[in-house]
């Protein structure tokens, strides 16, 4: 079953939200437009709309997360849904329950939507292909595959700063190979029609055939790669990359790929600097850049709530399988 079929219903409406792949430009723009309408709510004193009143959303996080889980929870609560937070690492799987059994049990409790983060690529597709009709799956990150809500909030941020996608040159810097965020961002940027997506990293952190498989321009030299770009997205560098012989040290990474004020001069004057967080200051970027005038890192977090509200409300099915 392809991702396209799984994510959309027969009217091409969102049924699950699993990956950017298979979604067209119009749908991505509709998500951004819908998020726009929720931005106003987040600024109000009463931050709630009744859109999902009576619906139950379960947060299934098989990997630790603070930011993503919290913003999903806030998004669901602002839509008036009831939210279940399941700390899976200490409950079901440690008793040997399979992912499918976890799904079935929660479906039996009339959960309408699952927001899942899982360490295995394809986990969200797996869940979606076995979910009851009327139950929606939202991918909050699966292995190294996809993190589509992060990509959409990044697109929202870019649009709010730049207005239009088409003239943009975007550079993504860091561990592309292991990054679900990068994969989703690249697909979203290409779908939205930016003029160029570049990835910048040493050869150990870029898939060998990235140009063909991901549709990007590959750079190994940071100064060359960020020249004249409009947006720079820095990725988080995981500490364990040092032990797998992928990098010699954080120090050398920062020397070669760290974003400093000096390097930033090479980019467009109006360059926007982004990071999905959490930042390793002095590893991916200098503090002066993270907190500098080009940085929109905290806006990304704020927008994350509105974008997730948009996606939750668009993917929620009108009635659950039981009522049908």
């Amino acid at each position: 079953m392809s991702a396209v079929n799984l994510q959309l219903d027969e009217n091409n409406k969102l049924r699950h939200f699993l990956s950017i792949e298979g979604l067209n430009r119009d749908l991505l723009l509709r998500i951004l437009d819908s998020a726009e309408s929720f931005i106003n709510i987040t600024g109000r004193s009463v931050k709630k709309v009744p859109a999902l009143r009576g619906k139950v959303i379960a947060n299934l996080f098989f990997e630790n997360s603070t930011r993503t889980r919290t913003t999903f929870e806030l998004a669901a609560k602002r839509l008036s849904a009831d939210v279940l937070n399941l700390n899976i690492s200490t409950s079901a799987t440690s008793k040997g329950e399979s992912l499918l059994d976890t799904l079935r049990n929660l479906e039996a409790m009339d959960v309408d939507m699952f927001v899942m983060r899982h360490g295995d690529s394809g986990a969200a597709h797996f869940l979606a292909s076995h979910a009851n009709p009327g139950v929606s799956i939202i991918n909050a990150g699966d292995g190294q595959h996809s993190h589509p809500t992060q990509a959409m909030l990044d697109m929202f941020t870019i649009r709010s700063v730049k207005g239009d996608f088409t003239p943009l040159r975007v550079a993504i810097v860091g561990d592309i190979l292991h990054s679900r965020v990068a994969r989703s961002q690249i697909m979203a940027l290409n779908t939205l029609g930016v003029s160029e997506v570049r990835v910048i990293a040493p050869r150990t952190l870029i898939p060998s055939n990235a140009r063909e498989s991901l549709g990007v321009h590959v750079y190994h030299d940071m100064d060359e790669g960020i020249r004249d770009v409009d947006v720079i997205i820095m990725l988080r560098l995981q500490k364990e990359r040092m032990s797998g012989a992928l990098l010699p040290s954080e120090h050398e990474f920062f020397q070669c790929y760290g974003l400093t004020e000096e390097r930033l001069q090479l980019a467009d004057d109006e360059v926007t600097v982004m990071h999905p967080g959490p930042i390793n200051r002095g590893v991916e970027m200098a503090t002066a850049v993270a907190d500098g005038k080009h940085s929109v890192i905290l806006q990304q977090v704020t927008y994350g709530i509105a974008v997730r509200m948009a996606i939750l409300s668009m993917a929620m099915q009108p009635s659950s399988g039981r009522e049908q």
Partner: protein, 427 residues
């Protein structure tokens, strides 16, 4: 005990002599008594009309996991040899990674006895190359050979120390036992679950590069040459390995190879949508690799097509792709997938038959894989023109894990005979 019977009007092909004829074949006491006219004193209790059908030697599968002993939830000797019979297979050759491991004559004997009681095909074991497959101490290979093991192998477990591997080869060569190897560099495999290529990169699946196979092939070829052992490479998956094996064969190194039938039809593209039935080890590789494997089959570098049968219970495949267990339940698609190569004009029918019968027989020095007087009546009768639809639901294997559900094939096994006993007939 099997009855005396005659199969008449069969299109008979014997790959050992390359003889084709339409004739009758007479079976008595589980052996082929005569081909052609009825011998004196022979009375058939049964006549089987094979008009228009192709009679070939029973298929010999070089790589088939029955799962017994140890993993009976996935399959048993009875269930899997029943599936073999449906697929026209009369001899299955099983890797030693059962539980317990086949590293002593006692375990080999246990399997032999169970098979004798219940099997619908000949079950031959490959003994372990090292004790417990731990890659450290040699097994008693002479004793394993005496108890019926036709080869030795470390299955998918690594022999990390090349000195031990070389000595194991030398020791096996002493007793003229072929060594079956699954070329895989475990460090380069690096917990991957799909070919390190375009599709896996896009899906974020940890990749297994071609070098995980070719580095191991290179090392094993060097050691094969020095040790003088017969090394048989199982289930190769890369085009580069075909080239390397060809070079070695030209130099006169005693190396042979097989390929799993599914590797000749599927590619990395088939894992799209995270289809866990296409989670395999070795992984499905590129179209170029598939085509190179096909050329290896056509050109003679590869002289056997195996099933690589690995039945699983449903739960083993019901998880996110990387968490599923690799493998295909493949006995029932081995022949149809091989015949498809004939339809696609890659090879002719005699070549296809030899790849499944005399080819594997030669690799492990078996006297079967031929149709001749006095030989065991291991036979498979095929309606070559019959078109049919393969479905997972109708499988006889305990494992229904197949990526070929719904495929249309031509060529259908109507009867299988093992030692003169009919082990499969369509109902």
């Amino acid at each position: 005990m099997s009855a005396n019977f005659t199969i008449f009007n069969a299109r008979l092909y014997d790959p050992s002599t390359d003889a084709q004829q339409v004739t009758d074949i007479h079976i008595a006491g589980g052996k082929i008594a005569a081909i052609g006219s009825t011998p004196a004193g022979f009375s058939a209790e049964r006549q089987i009309d094979a008009e228009g059908k192709q009679l070939i030697p029973g298929i010999i599968d070089l790589n088939c996991r029955l799962r017994e002993p140890g993993l009976e939830q996935k399959g048993t000797i009875i269930s899997e040899t029943t599936a073999a019979a449906r697929g026209g297979v009369t001899t299955v050759i099983c890797p030693p990674d059962t539980d317990p491991v086949i590293d002593t004559p006692a375990v080999a004997e246990l399997i032999r006895r169970r098979a004798k009681q219940s099997a619908q095909a000949r079950v031959l074991s490959i003994g372990a190359l090292t004790r417990g497959l731990a890659g450290e101490q040699l097994t008693e290979m002479a004793a394993l050979k005496s108890s019926g093991c036709i080869a030795v192998s470390n299955a998918r477990q690594p022999v990390r120390n090349n000195l031990i591997l070389k000595r194991a080869m030398e020791y096996a060569a002493t007793w003229e036992i072929p060594i079956f190897v699954n070329p895989l560099d475990h460090a380069l495999e690096n917990n991957g679950c799909a070919h390190d290529g375009r599709v896996a990169n896009r899906l974020g699946l940890p990749g297994i590069p071609c070098s995980a196979e070719t580095v191991a092939v290179a090392a094993m070829l060097e050691l094969a040459q020095e040790s003088g052992a017969h090394i048989h490479f199982q289930q190769i998956s890369t085009g580069r390995a075909v080239e390397m094996l060809h070079e070695a064969q030209v130099k006169g190194v005693h190396v042979t190879a097989d390929v799993a039938a599914h590797q000749l039809h599927l590619t990395e593209m088939d894992i799209e949508g995270f289809d866990s039935n296409c989670h395999l080890l070795p992984p499905l590789r590129t179209l170029a690799d598939r085509d190179a494997l096909r050329q290896g089959v056509a050109g003679g570098v590869i002289n056997a097509i195996c099933s690589g049968h690995e039945p699983h219970e449903a739960d083993a495949k019901l998880a996110p792709f990387p968490a599923t267990e690799p493998g295909i339940s493949a006995l029932e698609t081995l022949l149809p997938l091989t015949l498809r190569l004939v339809d696609e004009k890659l090879i002719d029918l005699p070549r296809a038959i030899s790849l499944l019968t005399s080819g594997p027989a030669e690799i492990v020095n078996l006297n079967s894989g031929r149709i001749s007087i006095g030989a065991d009546a291991d036979l498979c009768l095929i309606d070559l023109d019959r078109e049919w639809r393969f479905t997972a639901d109708a499988m006889l294997s305990a494992g229904h894990n197949t990526p070929f559900d719904g495929w249309e094939f031509s060529g259908y096994v109507t009867q299988t005979f093992f030692e003169g006993r009919m082990t499969w007939m369509e109902s």
